[in-house]
């Protein structure tokens, strides 16, 4: 029997494609945001509200990741924003090769921001580098304040956390103080933005933060 040292990252293929994409994004001064959240947390609504607030200043495109359907891409396109739908066909996360195929049909030169809506899942997408500038995690109030304890990984890889549906806080038993404490202990550097994508409450500080990130790569 012989022993052979390999010492190779398991996700090497994904990571090297992600590095290539990151370089392409940097060369074209595009800021790429990877949005992670559960199904039904309001990712698409948050994207629509974000586009609405930033479209006058920035050229934006969206990459939609879903197991099936093009419902989300159609919603984005209806707003007049380019959108590419990726159907993962059952896979629980997006990988960098899928992003490359989507990016190839976008006009990178004229874009300032690409928002990637990852597959609704709080587990698998956290381990996959897509070449993004930032991963942002969206949690919605009805999901409960204990989610950082149950899904620590996604809160740790996020550069910022969005708490959506804050307008429903009075009807759910959501302890905002406890939630803040949990997020802070997992990821002290990440800002938390409390907003309601549907009422528009709290959207301004979130888009101001994002706009600052976009300008930093221009």
């Amino acid at each position: 029997m012989a022993h052979i040292d390999i010492k190779q990252p398991i996700l090497q293929k994904n990571d090297s494609m992600a590095a290539e994409l990151r370089q392409r994004f940097a060369e074209n001064h595009v800021f790429v945001l990877d949005l992670l959240a559960s199904p039904g947390s309001g990712k698409t609504s948050t994207i629509l509200a974000t586009i609405d607030a930033l479209r006058d200043e920035f050229n934006i495109a969206v990459i939609e990741g879903d197991i099936a359907s093009n419902v989300d891409a159609e919603k984005i396109k209806a707003q007049g924003t380019p959108a590419v739908q990726i159907n993962t066909g059952g896979a629980c996360h997006l990988e960098s090769a899928m992003i490359k195929r989507a990016v190839d049909v976008l006009d990178l030169e004229r874009l300032d921001l690409i928002i990637i809506e990852n597959v609704g899942n709080l587990v698998c997408p956290t381990d996959f580098d897509l070449g993004e500038n930032a991963k942002v995690m969206i949690l919605s109030v009805p999901e409960g304040d204990d989610k950082p304890l149950k899904y620590p990984g996604v809160f740790q890889v996020a550069q910022a956390v969005v708490l959506n549906k804050v307008d429903t806080m009075p009807v759910f038993d959501f302890d905002d103080g406890r939630f803040t404490e949990e997020v802070t202990s997992l990821n002290p550097q990440a800002p938390i933005f409390r907003l309601s994508a549907t009422t528009g409450e709290g959207v301004a500080p979130w888009v101001a933060w994002l706009a600052e990130q976009i300008r930093s790569v221009q």
Binding site: M1, A2, I10, S185, P188
Partner: protein
Amino acid sequence: MHELGIMTGVMDAAVKSAQEAGATRLLGVTLSIGEMTEAIEDALVFAFEALVEDDPFTKDAELTVNMIAPKSICLECGHEFVHDRFHLFCPECDSFCTQLICGRELQIDSIEVDLPDGDPGGSEGSAG
């Protein structure tokens, strides 16, 4: 679900290295997995067993998973400490400014293979 995808990548790399070394069979695969990743040991073992069983080249291979406990360094006082997934602040000075040193590994460390008769064996690194 994604452990199967991870393990498919592992097996592709392991079989390729084994074949490049001229091996007749793959006997073992050793991984290092950080506890801060979302890869679960049991699911990795399950995926591994499903992937190796149908191929005579891989069917006797065994998986060894070394789980790596997270360790961080405090950027304020320099203290290094092992921690769980939830408590990343410095136990010495309570600072939140800490940086992970290890615990996010997803790595193939090594493989064990059978080499053809006549080969003296022990040809470490012969895969080049």
